[in-house]
Symmetry: C2
Subunit: 264 residues, 2 copies
């Protein structure tokens, strides 16, 4: 578990927006022996600082292996006052400097700025936005391989959207979390869910302050059962009441999921 860290005021905190191809990492979070986004970006920052100081990066969302991000947010503290002075007037150089150590890594920093006072990428987030993309056609795509979940049978996106609306509000989401989810409290407030069709794609957007482990992917797996006619729209209501994970749909594959935006 990451810990909140209080820093003295002469340290400068940097807010980053990070895009990554989830298939090139074993998730966001640092692990032994396996490559993570967190460690990859930390390493790039350390290299920019000539390896003199190690940095610790805090992310807004701990995406799993295979899950992509176009709008992950993270922060780190510039490790000493001297470096802070050097980079304060050169945030753009800092930004492209980090990216120069991320070439061919599968991750890229899309924005960098001095964080406002008291900012914490994880703790200060008030809304996280995820998008899930399904390719709904006969044949898989080679252009978009590992970017969408391929489902052959035609999905009823209108029924899926109707069912999706039942998620909005504050619920015990025990039926929609992984067995490995360590959150003590399974109650979450879902602010918006929308399912829409765009040609042969079905796109599911979900926003909430925070999520349980695998929550979006289990929501998607369950909505797909409704889109296929295996379950009816009111199945969502039953799951929210039963709180039974085994009655919910399968966990949708990670490579269709994108962390698109974090609001503060």
């Amino acid at each position: 578990m990451q810990k909140l860290r209080i820093v003295s005021s002469n340290h400068m905190r940097i807010k980053l927006t990070v895009e990554y191809d989830g298939m090139q990492f074993y998730g966001w979070q640092k692990q032994n022996d396996r490559i993570s986004v967190q460690e990859t970006v930390e390493h790039a920052i350390s290299r920019l600082f000539n390896g003199a100081e190690s940095v610790e990066l805090y992310g807004a969302g701990r995406t799993d292996t295979g899950v992509h991000a176009t709008g992950q947010v993270a922060h780190f503290d510039i490790p000493n006052g001297e470096l802070a002075e050097k980079w304060r007037a050169n945030i753009w150089k800092l930004h492209i400097g980090i990216n120069s150590y991320l070439i061919d890594s599968g991750a890229v920093i899309t924005s960098a700025e001095i964080a406002p006072d008291g900012f914490h990428a994880r703790a200060s987030a008030i809304m996280r936005h995820y998008e899930y993309i399904i390719l709904n056609r006969n044949i898989k795509s080679v252009i978009h391989a590992n970017r969408m979940w391929h489902i052959v049978r035609r999905l009823d996106d209108v029924a899926m959207n109707e069912a999706a609306k039942l998620f909005i509000g504050t619920h015990n989401l025990n039926a929609f979390r992984s067995a490995h989810c360590s959150a003590a409290n399974p109650v979450r407030t879902i602010s918006s869910v929308e399912v829409r069709r765009d040609g042969d794609r079905v796109i599911i957007q979900v926003a909430a302050r925070s999520f349980l482990h695998n929550q979006v992917r289990i929501m998607v797996g369950t909505l797909v059962q409704i889109g296929l006619g295996i379950k009816r729209v009111d199945h969502i209501q039953q799951l929210l009441e039963s709180m039974d994970r085994t009655a919910a749909g399968p966990t949708a594959p990670p490579y269709g999921l994108y962390l698109t935006k974090v609001e503060y």
Copy 2:
């Protein structure tokens, strides 16, 4: 050069639609020592026929190395009457059979059907549609690497669209073809061109019965000069009149270009 071939009527001709990731091939056309889409698909079909007979595949457009297709069309003849009888009632099995030999190849057959009488993928085509995608933002994308041309400076898509309209009609397009273009006649009729912005993407769509070598990519390179303010809208008119390749813009990179549809 491919030659038209007249086939006897007891042969069955199959029309395929092919999607491929252009970055995984040295173009459509078969070559010595380098992997092409044409050879890859021919090889998959031959394997389905137990290698007993080789097949020859004819494509609607000879896309270059790096150029993608979502709607390339090709045809081949089932090599003998016995095989034709076997597959006539099983076109769907033929389709998925070919795809089973294309797994991880970077190409996939998205549709297969018995071609109408006299059909020829190249000669019968009455319209070819290409799409070019530019990612117009500060930082490159890792999610869409090799799928779009990344341009940092803001493009004036309205000026580009205005300029694009000047291409519509029948023109000598000598200024817009590669030095290696072997076409005897550089006159072509462009049916439609459109430039539009979709968020941080600028999308250019062009349709014509036929194209010169590198034509779309040189048109895009030239429109980008107008979008950047390096050239004015009426520059297109001057190029069409001067017929001078050296005055046109650079050839846009291949990986932003998609052959999306062929009409018959």
